[in-house]
């Protein structure tokens, strides 16, 4: 712990002036730097959120429309709010005759999701992830209930 | 003399000063009396400016309105106890005060009207400041250097007195 130096009259005066000028130089430089404020609705064309931003839950599908979900239900159990509801069915595999679980519908309630990412962490196959899309405002609450998987017809 | 702008302005200022002075001595609240005094000082400064003596008008505003009134208001704020209303005067005291004021008015009017004033040598245009400075600091016959120095000694005594009263023991 350094002790406070005792300044006399003149040395205190000059020390004070020096420190004041140091502070003023800092704000002077700040005055001329370009501001990082982004003006939101006008800059939608160039807006890019950072990768880890949790906007909404999506289930990525490849070109043929397949997803990686095996309907294990781990995400449903991990969610603290009960946001995810999985409807699955047991299907008989035609070749081997074994029964396998298959995903029918993946309910996701955007209104009750708290974006904690526990579901994504729990999924063993990286079937679901968060995208950076954040503009979700709607006028009816029913529109917030989403079905995340796309079934092939 | 006809009705000139100077006359109208003088009348307005005079009415303003008289009304404010009467209000200043008849009101019961101390701080309002200080405010009415401020108005009287403004009016007086206005009369000095009308006489083209801007130095005295500026001094009036600076010292009286800006200094003495602030002094009054500070001392009222620091020393007033319960509220700021003065006590109600007894009728006999008010009558005696009115009589004294009337007597003073009669004496002043008598002296003013009986005295023969010198004819006023009214120069148009303002008094140059260097003339004021020279007369204040010169030691010749009509110079004011002695009162000037005596006043500064008086102010020094006030400052020393104030420090002595306010110092920590």
């Amino acid at each position: 712990m350094s002790e406070a130096k005792e300044y006399g009259y003149f040395s205190g005066l000059f020390h004070g002036i020096k420190t004041l000028l140091t502070g003023m130089r800092v704000t002077f430089k700040e005055f001329f730097t370009k501001k990082v404020t982004e003006e939101y609705p006008e800059n939608r064309a160039v807006l890019k959120m950072f990768d880890r931003f949790r906007g909404t839950l999506v289930m990525p599908h490849d070109e043929e429309g397949n997803n990686k979900c095996i309907a294990c239900g781990l995400c449903q159990m991990a969610c603290p709010n009960g946001t995810i509801r999985i409807e699955s069915e047991m299907v008989e595999d035609p070749e081997t005759g074994k029964k396998k679980r298959r995903l029918v519908r993946y309910h996701y309630d955007l209104g009750s999701c708290m974006f904690c990412q526990l579901c994504v962490n729990a999924c063993p196959h990286d079937a679901i992830r968060f995208s950076t899309e954040f503009e979700h405002a709607v006028f009816e609450r029913e529109k917030l209930q989403e079905i995340l998987n796309i079934t092939k017809e | 003399m006809g009705i000139t702008l100077e006359l109208i302005v003088f009348l307005i200022l005079a009415v303003f000063i008289v009304a404010s002075s009467i209000l200043a001595v008849t009101t019961k609240r101390i701080l309002r009396a200080a405010t009415y005094l401020l108005f009287v000082l403004f009016g007086t400064a206005g009369i000095y400016f009308q006489l083209n003596y801007s130095f005295l008008g500026a001094v009036q505003l600076l010292i009286y309105a800006g200094g003495i009134t602030v002094l009054y208001v500070f001392s009222i704020l620091l020393t007033s106890s319960q509220g700021d209303r003065a006590e109600k005067l007894k009728n006999s005291k008010m009558f005696a005060g009115l009589l004294t004021a009337l007597a003073g008015l009669v004496i002043c009017l008598f002296l003013t009207l009986k005295n023969t004033f010198l004819p006023s040598h009214f120069e148009h245009g303002e008094l140059p400041v260097s003339a004021i400075g020279m007369s204040m600091m010169s030691g010749e016959k009509y110079g004011y250097i002695l009162p000037f120095e005596v006043i500064s000694v008086l102010l020094l005594a006030c400052i020393i007195g104030g420090i002595l009263i306010a110092r920590k023991r």
Partner: protein, 358 residues
């Protein structure tokens, strides 16, 4: 250099040819009064807008951008909001003094504003004791502040008002000393004369070391005189819940607010007039071509550029430093600024007597 007195004398002749002289003077006074109040309001709006944008730039943000192009109409929205706010009357407050106090502050501000020369021949009050009158006008505002604090019937307002009053009367001394230093350099107190005599160089260059020191002292003391910058303890919201104007709302508060910003402009304009040459362009003695080019730019452009530059300096100071306590404010004045100011005055007197100036 465009001489505005051509316009004023033309108007005066036009009026005196159709009506008696007294009535002409009366009408001229009314017109000048209206123009003065309009200019007051316009300058206040420009100042407040500049404050918000400059403060934002120092604080790494953008300031108002949405209302109007680059946020220029934000101020009109704010003024409209302030006008329609309810004026709350306080119980047990002295109503006459409570309503009078903002007007005294604004009166002192308008009187000081009327002294500033904007262009050649464009000044309203031009006494030959102009500097003296300016100091007188600014000392009237103190009474308004004290009355505002007392009549609000609120002990925090009273404390704020007394602190503000003590601060203002202390720093008036330093303001007077630094202006006096320049009055010693030029032997006149009249503002138009002060500006005329800077035709061959501004006073901050002519009186070298003492004038620069006086300029710095004037900036600090002027800042404190108008309760701005690091000296705004009386109106600090975290300290005294807005000090002497706590109990004022709506238009009354608007008057205090406007008076504060115009006082800032007045302090800067006086600094620009006395130290930086007012409406006088930059002349370097000896370079005649340069001087001719400088003369093409009209006087009021020079004046506003200089005044706004000094305003920017004062805003830079305000948004860099934290607030000072009242005992630090008074220590700064009485232990540092007054002795330095007095020594500086002596130095300037020696410079003038021995001819060590340009």
């Amino acid at each position: 250099m465009f001489d505005f007195s051509i316009v004023t004398s033309w108007i005066h002749e036009l009026l005196t040819s159709v009506m008696p002289a007294g009535l002409a003077v009366f009408i001229e006074c009314v017109v000048i009064g209206v123009c003065l109040m309009l200019a007051y309001a316009v300058i206040a709006i420009i100042m407040i807008f500049m404050e918000r944008k400059v403060c934002a730039a120092f604080q790494c943000r953008l300031g108002p951008v949405r209302v109007g192009p680059w946020g220029t109409l934000q101020l009109f929205a704010d003024v409209f909001k302030m006008l329609i706010k309810e004026i709350i009357t306080i119980r047990h407050a002295d109503k006459f003094l409570y309503n009078l106090a903002p007007y005294i502050v604004v009166l002192s501000s308008i009187l000081a504003f009327a002294c500033i020369p904007v262009n050649k021949g464009m000044e309203i009050l031009d006494f030959n004791v102009g500097v003296f009158f300016l100091m007188a006008a600014s000392s009237i505002g103190i009474v308004g502040v004290l009355l505002a604090g007392w009549s609000s019937n609120n002990k925090y307002s009273l404390i704020g008002a007394m602190r503000s009053g003590a601060q203002m009367i202390s720093y008036e001394l330093s303001v007077g000393l630094s202006i006096l230093t320049i009055v010693v350099l030029t032997d006149t107190m009249q503002f138009s004369e002060i500006v005329e005599r800077q035709a061959d160089g501004w006073f901050i260059f002519k009186g070298h070391v003492p004038a620069v020191i006086a300029f710095i002292i004037y900036l600090i003391a002027g800042n404190a005189e108008v309760n701005r910058g690091p000296f705004d303890l009386p109106e600090a919201e975290s300290e005294l819940t807005a000090g002497y104007h706590t109990e004022y709302s709506g238009m009354h508060f608007g008057l205090f607010y406007v008076a504060e910003f115009v006082n800032l402009f007045i302090v800067s304009a006086i600094a620009a007039t006395i130290f930086l040459g007012g409406w006088m362009p930059l002349h370097i003695p000896g370079l005649d071509g340069f001087n001719q080019v400088m003369d093409y730019i009209p006087g009021f452009v020079w004046f506003f550029a200089k005044a706004l530059f000094v305003v920017w300096l004062l805003m830079w100071i305000k948004w860099t430093f934290p607030r000072l306590r009242i005992d630090q404010i008074l220590t700064l004045e009485w232990k540092y600024l007054v002795p330095i100011g007095l020594v500086n005055l002596l130095l300037m007197v020696m410079c003038v007597v021995f001819g060590w100036h340009f």
